[in-house]
Structure formats: structure tokens, C-alpha cells
């Protein structure tokens, strides 16, 4: 907004009149009085608040980036943009507080008390974005949602409840609210939505979004357990959320991370527990077995108190209280092309303090305390956002105009929540 304030000058009219008729020869210096009547613009006031912005990048054909012109171009001459290799601003009506990326779809949540708290875009073939009613047919839902569309939740108090956090899996999503628990939607073939498995259920055009009863501090699991990733001690599917036992029994957990078939939990006193797939040496610090079906305490040497853990498909990363990042597992770990697997945690440069770490299926993202975003590992369809298709063997900065507060990593796309600098 520009507030134009004209300096009132008694001779203003006279000068304006002069300028209308007389031309000043080129090269003669302007008189000082004439310089003073240039209007002064105010673009920003003194108490301007920092704005929250959303940036997206990666593979766009499923509509996961939420920009329709990438998939269906505005004019016939343009071609669809398949990969968005650098961060692109996504315009949102409200301030987004939480974002999550699944396989070809994205969920954004706002912390507000408005009726619309949740927006989804991307793949919706399993109704992971809820029921998006089509324009032409009331009973059909869109398979691909190209723009961030509201997802309606069956809340008891929609004007009081806030959506705190969203999380996405391969074909299902979970929403955490502050007073009404967790809601799940999408594919339930393995019971991952926490409701009873119905044989041959068709998830397309499905309306079911159901709440799940949970207790704070403990970890519940449901879903496929063939690799022991439910941590419930057996390798069957679990269709109802069941508290996880093993070494986690009675331990207060502050954070859970899972991707692919491996899971990690961080307790409030800084210990890391792991269960699930260990084919890629994710849990090799405690066992040689390839599948662990109940949580074990991981004795990680030299790591110290762990604040946050992140799991990828074949690799794992933890962040300790001093802001140091440790990675291990298989794949591009971020210490050059030679280090492709490690069973023990490898540390990164300790002089850079990291405030948060995230993992996609094949890549890592770290946010430093200065608000810079570093990404590395496999660049699947441009998901790293570094402007090229090459894999990145060491951490590389992503140029984002602002301070990155949070980032969500998917398989082939990423969403960053950014706070403006001024």
C-alpha cells in the first residue's frame, strides 16, 4: 500500500505551470527548489509484521504444488511445467502453520478458528484429500486437485477447534486438532487410517474421515507391519491404533518420525528408540537383524542428547541439543559420493547450528538457526529445489527470499514455510 504525501509548496502551482510549457535543456542542473516537490512514498510502516509465505518446488504433474498453470497452462502456446526446480511462491489466503507432503499430494493447515482450516492439493485417487466434489457431478470427487482446495473436517465445534498439525503418508493423511483428537482420511487397505479394514473397499470418492482416540505422551501405531514398523511385536496389520510397547513402555515421547518402513521416536530425555526395517543399517547400532518389531533403545555414541529425529526411506538423521546433525544408513548421506552407507552416526560441520531436520524418501533438509535451508541427497524429479536435476552429495543452500521456519519433504516435492525478512 502506498501512502502518497505531497509536500505542499506555495510555488508548486507556479512550477507545475512552468514545467507544462518550458523544457529544461539537457545537462543544466536542477534548481534545489524543484527537487523538493518530488512526492515521498511510504511502502511499509514502522510496525509492519513479518509475513508468512509458502514456497513449493518439485514435480508438478500431480498438482501437488498447488499451481494450476503448471499442469494446465493458461494459454495454449505454453507447455505444462513438469519440474519446478527452484522455490515458487504459493499464494495462500491464510497464514499456514503446518504443511505435510505425501506421495504426490500436499496438505496445508492453518492455525485459525475459521471454518476452513485445511487445504489439500495433488493426488486424490484414494481420497487422501477428503471428498472434493466435482462441479458437474455431486457424487464424484476430483482425482487430481490442482489448486489448494479446502478440506472439510467433521468437527463438533468447527469454530472453536484449531488444526495443529498435518501428516501425510503414501495415500492417507492425518490431521491433529487441539480438542477433538486426530482425524484420518485416505487409503485404509492396511488399516493405516485407524479404522476397521473393509475388504475390497474403494477409496475413490470416499467420504470417510474418522477420529481416533489417543493418549498424550505415548506412541500409537496402526497399519502394515510386515517389517515390524508398527512396533507392536508382531508382523500383521493393525487396524486400530494400539499403544506401542517394547523399550518405549512408560517413556514420555516428544517426537516420532517415520518414512518408508523404519520408525524412530525421541523421548523427552533425549534418547532415541527405533523399530521397523533395518535392512539399510538404520538400527545396526543395536542389532544385526533386518526387521525389529518392537522398539529398542538405540545407544548412539557421541551423539549426546537428541532433540529431533528424521527418517528417510533408507537413511536416518538425528539432531542433538547442540545443533549438530548426524546421519547414517544407506544412500547419499551428504559427505561426498564415497560415503554411501554407514552404520554409525556421521557428524556434520559443528560450527553451523541446525534448528530442525527433516527427511524425504531419498533426501534430507536441514534448517539452520539463521533460517537458511540446506538440502542434500537424491534429487528425485527436482525435489531439492536447487535449480538442477543433479544429485547433491553435500549440503547445498536453497535460495529462498526469507527465513525458513519449517519444511515438509515428500517423495518428489517439498513445501517450505517462510517468514519474510522485513
Amino acid at each position: 500500500m502506498a501512502l502518497v504525501s505531497l509536500r505542499s509548496c506555495g510555488r508548486l502551482g507556479f512550477h507545475l505551470g512552468l514545467r507544462a510549457y518550458a523544457t529544461r535543456p539537457v545537462g543544466t542542473p536542477r534548481k534545489r527548489e524543484q527537487q523538493d516537490d518530488t512526492p515521498v512514498f511510504q511502502y511499509v510502516g514502522q510496525h509492519r509484521k513479518l509475513q508468512g509465505k509458502v514456497f513449493v518446488w518439485g514435480f508438478s504433474y500431480t498438482g501437488a504444488l498447488g499451481i494450476p498453470s503448471f499442469v494446465v497452462p493458461d494459454s495454449g502456446r505454453k507447455k505444462p511445467r513438469k519440474y519446478q526446480l527452484t522455490p515458487y511462491r504459493l499464494d495462500t489466503e491464510q497464514k499456514i502453520s503446518s504443511a505435510a507432503c505425501g506421495y504426490g499430494f500436499t496438505l496445508l493447515a492453518s492455525n485459525s478458528r475459521d471454518l476452513t482450516k485445511l487445504w489439500g492439493m495433488g493426488l486424490n485417487k484414494d481420497s487422501q484429500l477428503g471428498f472434493q466434489r466435482t462441479q458437474h457431478d455431486r457424487h464424484k470427487s476430483y482425482d487430481y486437485v490442482l489448486e489448494a482446495s479446502p478440506v472439510s473436517l467433521p468437527l463438533v465445534n468447527p469454530q472453536e477447534t484449531r488444526a495443529l498439525q498435518v501428516s501425510c503418508g503414501r495415500a492417507h493423511s492425518l490431521v491433529l486438532t487441539d480438542s477433538e483428537g486426530v482425524f484420518s482420511m485416505g487409503n485404509n487397505a492396511y488399516g493405516q487410517c485407524g479404522r476397521k479394514i473393509v475388504e475390497d473397499e474403494v477409496f475413490r470418492f470416499s467420504h470417510s474421515i474418522c477420529p481416533a482416540p489417543l493418549v498424550l505422551g505415548s506412541v500409537y501405531a496402526c497399519g502394515w507391519g510386515a517389517d515390524g514398523q508398527t512396533g507392536l511385536g508382531y508382523h500383521n496389520k493393525a487396524s486400530c491404533p494400539v499403544p506401542v510397547g517394547g523399550d518405549l513402555a512408560g517413556v514420555k515421547v516428544q517426537q516420532v518420525a517415520t518414512y518408508g518402513d523404519c520408525s524412530l521416536a525421541v523421548s523427552t530425555d533425549g534418547h532415541v528408540f527405533g523399530w521397523g526395517n533395518s535392512e539399510y543399517l538404520q538400527l545396526a547400532s543395536v542389532t544385526e537383524a533386518t526387521q525389529i518389531s518392537s522398539p529398542w533403545l538405540l545407544a548412539l555414541r557421541g551423539v549426546g542428547r537428541v532433540r529431533q529425529a528424521a527418517c528417510g526411506g533408507t537413511q536416518v538423521a538425528v539432531l542433538n541439543e547442540e545443533g549438530e546433525v548426524f546421519v547414517w544408513g544407506f544412500g547419499i548421506l551428504g559427505k561426498g559420493p564415497k560415503l554411501s552407507e554407514s552404520a554409525i552416526p556421521e557428524r556434520f560441520n559443528p560450527t553451523v547450528k541446525v534448528s530442525s531436520i527433516r527427511c524425504g524418501l531419498n533426501h534430507f533438509a536441514a534448517i539452520t538457526d539463521r533460517g537458511e535451508l540446506f538440502v542434500w541427497a537424491k534429487n528425485v524429479r527436482g525435489c531439492l529445489g536447487i535449480g538442477k536435476h543433479d544429485d547433491q552429495y553435500f549440503p547445498w543452500r536453497v535460495t529462498v527470499p526469507g527465513h525458513v521456519t519449517d519444511v515438509a519433504c515428500g517423495v518428489d516435492h517439498m513445501v517450505a514455510l517462510v517468514r519474510s525478512i522485513i
Binding site: R30, Q35, T38, P39, V40, F41, Q42, Y43, V44, G45, Q46, H47, R48, V325, G334, K335, G336, P337, K338, F348, N349, T351, V352, V354, A366, T368, R370, E372, F374, D390, D391, Q392, Y393, F394, P395, W396, R397, T399, P401, G402, H403, I421, I422
Partner: protein, 361 residues
């Protein structure tokens, strides 16, 4: 003696630094240095005139006037062939070359080379030494040529600008420039050698690159005036003035540049630059002697780079250059005062997140 002029001329071989005042074209500086050197050379006392035997018809003896006896007698007569009024001044050209140029609006260290130093100037230009600038800026207006003497295009308010916001904007600009350091180093980033170099912070732009800022910080903030200290590679002064303008834009206001002052060009610092009173031959020769070691180092590193350039992999070239002679950072670091304090953002933000610290700026 002629020898004195020639001795003086032989001493004029090397590099030295001059403080170019604002408003003066660099060519005028170069021309006045050259004419001062020539003046000094040509004002040396001319050689004693050579004498040659000449047989002259002179009237013989003392019993003269009326007698018409003219006899040939040998006399030593000065030859006029070497007389300065005949030959003109002995020196009419001294090769004075200019290193990285400074445009008329800017002031600061200007490196000049005399005689054999011109070859070393070329090596200096090719080596990627960084340069230090102090940029003075003023918030509130935007002009057509980014300076405060241009035509005002827009005026804005600037009361919302705080030092904290300015620091944030500078940190963001610097973050973007850190990437450019590695991107333009022309090494294949997928190799292990490139990773090792990047981790130690030894990757540097190789060949053609756009202007890259290796260091940027605010040294003075007093709205509407502020000063920035910049270390950069491959820049032009207009780019730096545009940088001030862009800093203003990022802060949602306008800024113009009121001064660009180069405080260091590689190993040549402003404390050792000659001011106008000292643009005489004596001071210049003294300055050349002062920079003798530096000149030698630059020449050596230049020759090494030439031979190393024949290798295939530029990662190897980089590594060899860095490890064996370690020129640029030594040149920069040894002669570098640590006046840039710990708040320099680039020292604390390594180029990548991997192990090691940057030694470079």
C-alpha cells in the same frame, strides 16, 4: 651522468599502489604518474658532453690580428650529438599499466605497474584476489545512476529501517553469494575431490564469473546514512552501487550510493597507497621496493598457474594451486589486517554445511 638516469630507470620495475581521488578518471592518474616519472628521469643532470677532436682553422699564435695566417689546430670540442637540446629528452615513454580499474565516481587503491611490473599485473588480474570496498549509502531516494548526484526518480520513507533488518537482508544476500562461489568454480560437484575442496572451503571461482561477494557486513548505521564493507571478486563499481540500491529495495525503501572506496586490492592496502603529494619518482620507487616481495609472489603464482593450466581436470588445478603455493589466500591473509571483526558473516557461515571452516573470504 647518463648512468644516473639509467639507474633511476632500472629501479622503476614493479608494482605499487596509488590512492585515486574521487572525480578523477583513472587514465588521468596514470598519465600524471607517467609524466612525473618522466620528469624525474629527464631532470637528471645530462651526461658530461663528449669531446671530439676537431681540426679547426684558427688564427695562429699571439701575433694575431692583422696576420692572415690560419693554421689547422686540433681542439677538443664538445660534440653536440648527445646534447639534450639536440636529441630531446632521453626518456619519452615509461610503461605504466593499471590493474583493476576504478571508475570516476569511486576512490581508493589503484594498483599500477611500471616497466617489467606490467607482466605481473596480468598475473594479478588473472589470480582471483578479492577486493575490499567501503560503500556509503543513503536511504530515502532512488536515482537513475544509483549515486546521490543523479536525477532523483523516487523518494521513500525509511523510518521503518532498523539495523537488525539491514543485517538480515545482508545475510540473505550473502547466502546467495556463497553458492555462487562454488557454482562458478567449474569443478564437477559429483566427484569426491570436489567434495573435499568444498568442505575445506577452497573452491573458488575459476574463469569467467559474475561479480560475487565473498563478504558483506554493515559497519555503520545512522539513518539515513549507512556504510557497508564488502569483499568481492570480479566486480565493477557500478555493480556495487546497484547493490546499495538493491539493499534499499529489499528493505522496502530506496537507497543511493554516496561513495565507493576501495580499501584493498589483493595484497595492496590503503595504508600503503600513495596520495597525490607523493606521486613523485622517489616515493614511487620506495613503494616499488616495499612491494617487491609481493610482486615476486604474484609472479610466481602466475607462472605456476600457467603451467598448471595445461592439466585436464580443473579440480586438480584448483587443488594444486591451493596446496602447493597457496598464493591467493596467503597473499590476502598475510597482508590482511584483521580489522574485519568477528561479525563478518562470511567467516561464520561456511560455504557448505560440511566439515571444516572457510579460510577464504
Amino acid at each position: 651522468m647518463a648512468a644516473q638516469a639509467i639507474r633511476l630507470f632500472r629501479k622503476m620495475d614493479g608494482l605499487f599502489a596509488v590512492y585515486k581521488p574521487q572525480g578523477v578518471h583513472w587514465k588521468h592518474v596514470r598519465d600524471s604518474i607517467e609524466s612525473n616519472l618522466l620528469k624525474a628521469l629527464n631532470s637528471c643532470p645530462p651526461p658530461a658532453p663528449q669531446h671530439a677532436v676537431q681540426f679547426q682553422l684558427l688564427s695562429s699564435g699571439e701575433n694575431s690580428s692583422s696576420s692572415k695566417d690560419l693554421a689547422l689546430s686540433p681542439t677538443m670540442v664538445p660534440t653536440l650529438a648527445d646534447h639534450p637540446l639536440v636529441t630531446g629528452p632521453q626518456f619519452h615513454k615509461v610503461h605504466v599499466g593499471v590493474g583493476h580499474r576504478l571508475d570516476a565516481f569511486s576512490s581508493g587503491v589503484l594498483v599500477l605497474g611500471v616497466g617489467k611490473g606490467n607482466g605481473v599485473l596480468e598475473h594479478l588480474c588473472k589470480s582471483h584476489v578479492t577486493r575490499d570496498y567501503t560503500l556509503e549509502g543513503e536511504f530515502g531516494k532512488a536515482t537513475d545512476n544509483f549515486t546521490d548526484t543523479g536525477r532523483v526518480i523516487e523518494k521513500t520513507t525509511y523510518d521503518h529501517v532498523t539495523q537488525d533488518k539491514l543485517e538480515r537482508v545482508l545475510a540473505m544476500i550473502q547466502g546467495a553469494n556463497q553458492k555462487a562461489l562454488i557454482t562458478y568454480s567449474q569443478v564437477d560437484l559429483r566427484t569426491q575431490e570436489a567434495y573435499e575442496l568444498a568442505v575445506r572451503g577452497l573452491l573458488y571461482p575459476h574463469g569467467k564469473s559474475p561479480p560475487i561477494l565473498t563478504g558483506l557486513r554493515c559497519i555503520h548505521f545512522n539513518p539515513p546514512h549507512f556504510s557497508l564493507e564488502v569483499q568481492c571478486v570480479n566486480e565493477t563499481q557500478k555493480y556495487l552501487r546497484k547493490l546499495i540500491h538493491e539493499v534499499g529495495l529489499e528493505l522496502r525503501t530506496c537507497a543511493v550510493c554516496s561513495g565507493v572506496r576501495r580499501t584493498r586490492d589483493g595484497p595492496f592496502k590503503v595504508e600503503n597507497a600513495l596520495t597525490r603529494q607523493h606521486w613523485t619518482a622517489d616515493s614511487i620507487i620506495q613503494a616499488i621496493a616495499h612491494f617487491h616481495k609481493t610482486t615476486r609472489r604474484i609472479r610466481k603464482s602466475g607462472m605456476y598457474r600457467q603451467t598448471a593450466g595445461q592439466m585436464n581436470s580443473s579440480a586438480e588445478v584448483q587443488e594444486q594451486i591451493r596446496s602447493q603455493t597457496g598464493q591467493s589466500e596467503q597473499i590476502n591473509q598475510d597482508e590482511f589486517s584483521s580489522s574485519t571483526s568477528d561479525t563478518v558473516v562470511d567467516r561464520e557461515t561456511p560455504v557448505t554445511m560440511s566439515e571444516g571452516r572457510t579460510k577464504h573470504r
